[in-house]
């Protein structure tokens, strides 16, 4: 009798099944690639699903123009290595208006550059299915999210329109203009993701590893000075500290944590011993209990 499947083998098989189902049933799928560790795992699973062929869909990155420079370098390298088309979309209207996290506040900035940018890209290329790397354990409002999450023609998420999901039978039927967001790693936890990256040697952005980086302390958070657009407020000074990031996003909105964890096992060790959840470092979640739910209804991931 063969060995039993481990939890990671079972999660991997489920994710591959989901990814293949999308390719079999949709005409024009895309993978939303956010460059973070969850995207890294999702991309790796997609490569496994179609080996020896490359995944038969492009990657889409909605670039807010405020991502860490190392993220952009990593993105371009991964797309080339995997033999995938990479679509980079920027909300040019937002750029023209000069929307930035400093001048317009994190909420409006995220809405314009991320949510609106995503909708623009989905509309322009007429994607009918979009893979996302969200997990149900990330945040309470995601615990009830479907794996195949239905979106109306204007990209809105309505809890009443979500379909029951039974067994591994997914209802992929949509009308023209409607779309489905698909979350192949819904059932993975943060620990599962890290363990899998470790086991499979999946490349991740170096920002996850501790290194001495220039940071300023602002509102109790450590913000990295990634380029010269970060203007120092009175009293702020650039300090050099050994820091790393538990989650990656736009650099002015992503807090670093002080850390010496420079290898993957050390990162996992730190994560297991830490006392705060990973989304703590994301400024946009802090508004109110229902803030993520509201953002999701508006089309944010």
């Amino acid at each position: 009798m063969s060995l039993n499947l481990t939890h990671l083998q079972q999660l991997e098989a489920e994710s591959i099944h989901i990814i293949r189902e999308v390719v079999a049933e949709f005409g024009n799928p895309v993978m939303l690639y956010s460059i973070g560790k969850d995207s890294a795992v999702m991309l790796h699973l997609a490569r496994k699903a179609f080996y020896p062929a490359p995944p038969p869909f492009p990657l889409l990155h909605v670039d807010t123009t405020w991502k860490f420079r190392e993220m952009i370098q990593f993105r371009d390298r991964m797309a080339a290595e995997c033999g995938l088309d990479l679509i980079v979309h920027v909300n040019e209207e937002g750029v023209r208006q000069g929307v930035s996290p400093f001048t317009h506040g994190s909420s409006l900035y995220t809405d314009v550059m991320k949510t609106e940018g995503l909708k623009q890209a989905l509309n322009r290329y007429k994607f009918d299915a979009a893979f996302g790397g969200a997990r149900r354990d990330e945040e309470k409002s995601r615990a009830k999210e479907r794996i195949f999450s239905f979106r109306s023609a204007n990209h809105r998420w309505d809890p009443k329109l979500q379909r029951p999901e039974l067994w591994n039978l997914y209802n992929t039927r949509i009308k023209p203009g409607e779309s489905i967001r698909v979350f192949p790693i819904s059932n993975w936890t943060e620990l599962d993701v890290w363990q899998y990256i470790h086991l499979e040697n999946i490349p991740i952005v170096p920002l996850y590893y501790a290194a001495v980086r220039p940071v300023v302390e602002r509102d109790g958070m450590l913000i990295m000075v990634d380029d010269n657009r970060l203007e120092l407020k009175p009293g702020e000074t650039v300090q050099y500290k050994s820091v790393r990031f538990r989650t990656l996003g736009c650099y002015p909105l992503t807090a670093a944590v002080e850390s010496e964890a420079a290898t993957l096992p050390e990162i996992i060790q730190e994560m297991l011993l830490t006392r705060t959840s990973e989304r703590q470092g994301r400024l946009i979640d802090h508004d109110s209990a229902g803030s993520m739910e509201k953002k999701k209804q508006e089309g944010y991931f």
């Binding site: 991997e12 020896p52 009830k144 039974l166 060790q269």
Partner: protein, 556 residues
């Protein structure tokens, strides 16, 4: 989140190694708000250290603001996901929770217990291997306990925990616990569960949740966590005959043709023979291809890519199976339906039937009966409404490959989709291929035995069996004497070289089929498989017998 913190601090690599071997258990909790279900799950998350400090801070704030425990920590608040329902104070959908111990990772489907939410329970239970059924120790078994148990059994869960909660409120009274346990075992005797484990609990106080409780020295069984960590669920699917629905054909270049899918049951190795149920064609496995290298074998639950030794036509929708025990391939499944939509079932209307293999248009020809989920009584109904459950017969546009749900949850299940709204309107669990439509009206599947004096007449026509390759007439549901009415189209169908498989309940049905074959100058082959006895009926070629591949048959 500091489980095993010493090992994590001292030897992270050893910790990671030990956690690579963890297994995965999916379970469902059934009960109402009053049973303390959310408290129970919140407590499991809490005690397995899956709550972070920032979550704890917001939990403390929320407990004071909207909690139901007078300002003390309200574990239930860890669970409520959506703002709207948090304000209403009830959960209205299925939520999935995650926690892990040193031995297993757990996925909990958290479903509400309110009567109108049968739909959610079926959804949550469809992927679960274990059900935790909550009972309030003060109240004992309620109607909803029976309802939950029936639904759990319908969905094929075999391992049951009867969680007798709030034992603290009856002073941990052993007699009362035993009475509840015995009453439940009697009630559940006919539900087909594999095992039932009753545990006296106080979720709020933590009694018998993780550690054995000092309040129940008379209880020698496992704690809830102990049970969840050790219940054996592995390997159940791989002992069944091999099944792999083909999901995607991978053809990057002319020299590679791989069939991708998730192994639904059984084990497969290179060299093994495979049968395509829809065409009756067979081949052998050449390679099991993965990005990590070829595998020596693949087992139920793995997503793989198979290459075969022969170029045979296989596409998405086909089911690959073990040659000696193929799935049923038929157009008329009979199934349990759970109706999930506000708009009731419309008999005769076309729905899309999505199974593990394919999406096929089909209609419901009749609702045989509905089951009252509270009393388990059967009643005659014209249709099914939201949250109603019944047995119905389907007629599909073309035959599909499937197994009875009791034998295989993956290949015996389907969903019904409304063609116009695209809503998922029902969940289906196949019982068997339906007996063929009778000549007389008002036929019921009850035995039409010899006591009524007349043999039942079964009509055979092309429409009732047609499909590519082997079509099936299933007689396993027939319990009495029958005769066949053979139509011209049926003979024409066989004349084109098609073969028809008759599945028999037992040998007593053989003479009727043989007599029909004799009258119509047909040939047949007799076979005995894991599923019983069957007869393959065909028309021997009159032009040149030696060209027929079936020539080795023992036609009489």
């Amino acid at each position: 989140m500091a489980h095993q913190s010493e090992l994590i601090e001292q030897d992270i690599l050893a910790y990671l190694k030990s956690h690579e071997e963890k297994s995965l258990l999916r379970f469902i909790t059934c009960g109402s708000v009053d049973d303390g279900k959310s408290t129970l799950i919140g407590r499991l998350l809490w005690d397995s250290k899956m709550v972070f400090e920032d979550q704890l801070a917001s939990l403390e704030a929320d407990s004071k603001k909207v909690g139901t425990q007078g300002g003390a920590i309200d574990y239930a608040l860890l669970l409520d996901g959506l703002q709207a329902e948090r304000e209403q104070g009830i959960t209205i959908d299925v939520a999935y929770r995650y926690f892990s111990t040193d031995r297993r990772k757990f996925i909990v489907a958290d479903t509400p217990g309110h009567e109108q939410y049968t739909r959610n329970m079926i959804t949550g239970a469809s992927t679960a291997q274990v059900a935790v059924i909550l009972v309030d120790a003060r109240k004992g078994l309620l109607t909803q306990t029976r309802r939950h148990s029936f639904l759990v059994s319908l969905v094929g869960i075999r391992h049951i925990v009867l969680a007798v909660n709030k034992m603290d409120l009856i002073d941990f009274d052993r007699q009362k616990f035993e009475a509840i346990r015995q009453e439940y075992e009697q009630f559940a005797a006919n539900l087909g569960f594999g095992d039932i484990t009753a545990i006296p609990l106080s979720a709020l106080g933590g009694d018998n949740m993780i550690e054995p409780s000092a309040n129940t020295p008379w209880y020698q069984g496992p704690t809830l966590m102990n049970y969840l960590e050790t219940v054996r669920i592995e390997g159940e699917d791989r002992e069944k005959p091999f099944r792999m629905p083909v999901q995607w054909v991978n053809r990057p270049h002319l020299d590679f043709r791989g069939f991708c899918g998730t192994v639904a049951s059984g084990v497969i190795r290179p060299g093994d023979e495979l049968l395509v149920a829809s065409s009756g064609r067979s081949s052998r496995v050449a390679r099991i291809v993965t990005m990590d290298g070829d595998l020596p074998e693949a087992v139920a639950g793995q997503s793989v890519t198979l290459t075969l030794t022969d170029e045979i036509d296989i596409s998405r929708g086909d089911m690959l199976s073990a040659p000696d025990s193929p799935p049923i391939h038929a157009r008329h499944p009979e199934a349990h339906l759970v109706w999930m939509h506000d708009t009731p079932l419309q008999p005769g209307q076309i729905y899309l039937v999505k199974t593990a293999t394919t999406v096929t248009p089909g209609r419901i020809t009749s609702v045989q009966y509905a089951v009252d989920v509270n009393t388990l009584e059967q009643k005659q109904v014209p249709t099914l409404g939201l949250n109603e459950i019944g047995v119905a017969r389907l007629e599909l546009d073309r035959p599909i490959s499937f197994d009875p749900y009791r034998q295989n949850r993956q290949t015996g299940s389907f969903i019904l989709i409304d063609r116009f709204t695209n809503a998922t309107v029902a969940a289906g669990m196949i019982l068997a291929a339906a007996p063929l439509e009778p000549q007389t009206e008002g036929y019921r599947p009850e035995p039409s035995g010899p006591e009524n004096g007349f043999p039942r007449r079964i009509s055979l026509s092309e429409a009732s069996v047609s499909g590519a390759g082997v079509s099936v007439v299933d007689l396993t549901g027939e319990t009495g004497i029958f005769e066949f009415d053979v139509s011209a189209s049926f003979l024409e169908y066989l004349g084109k070289g098609n073969r028809i498989l008759f599945r028999l309940r037992d040998l007593e049905q053989l003479p009727a089929v043989a007599a029909m074959a004799h009258e119509q100058a047909l040939s047949f082959e007799f076979d005995r498989t894991a599923y019983g006895v069957s007869i393959l009926l065909f028309k021997r070629s009159t032009r040149s017998g030696s060209e027929s591949p079936d020539d080795g048959g023992t036609g009489i």
